[in-house]
Symmetry: C2
Subunit: 100 residues, 2 copies
């Protein structure tokens, strides 16, 4: 885990907002293609729609969050679904408690 990358990813309001929305996808987003958002994640376009941020901005944000290990993604057809990493946040909490 690159702590600096993680903290940089977390030091932006828009990215924190996305992380928060992704805690409970089905209550914030809806999905045309019928995948289970709570399992597979949410596609880029939906995140744009809900946050009001531009498409390229959201795409970059999601890449940063994924590179830092906070999100995971799966490509299904033309959609890329992003979801929260299952254990990243507990690991970060442990890191903060033990190493920071």
């Amino acid at each position: 885990m690159d702590a600096l990358d993680v903290f940089k990813a977390l030091s932006n309001e828009g990215r924190l907002k996305i992380l928060d929305l992704l805690k409970d996808p089905s209550s914030h987003f809806h999905c045309e293609s019928g995948v289970d958002m709570d399992k597979v994640g949410v596609c880029v376009g939906e995140i744009c729609r809900v946050t009001g941020l531009g498409q390229s901005t959201v795409s970059v944000y999601l890449s940063q969050l994924e590179r830092a290990g906070l999100l995971e993604s799966t490509r299904v057809g033309k959609w890329t679904y992003y979801r929260r990493s299952k254990d990243a946040f507990a690991k970060i909490a442990d890191y903060v408690r033990e190493n920071l």
Copy 2:
């Protein structure tokens, strides 16, 4: 606690280095004025000397870290001694685990 301020404070290599050095002051710094560094903290000039960073840079860094609640300071005579906050890091760890 302003999480964004905390993560911004943590998203810089120099500031992370300072936090690390301040974990064990007496093994990295020495003190002319004879205060107990492990209790009171380390003065700005010493942090400049050890990190090699400019004095105004270090002063700004320390202010940012203090504003985010990660450091505390005490002025004694002409020196300002900075030390790690006793419980900030456990609180941040809890925040990450529960709210992020």
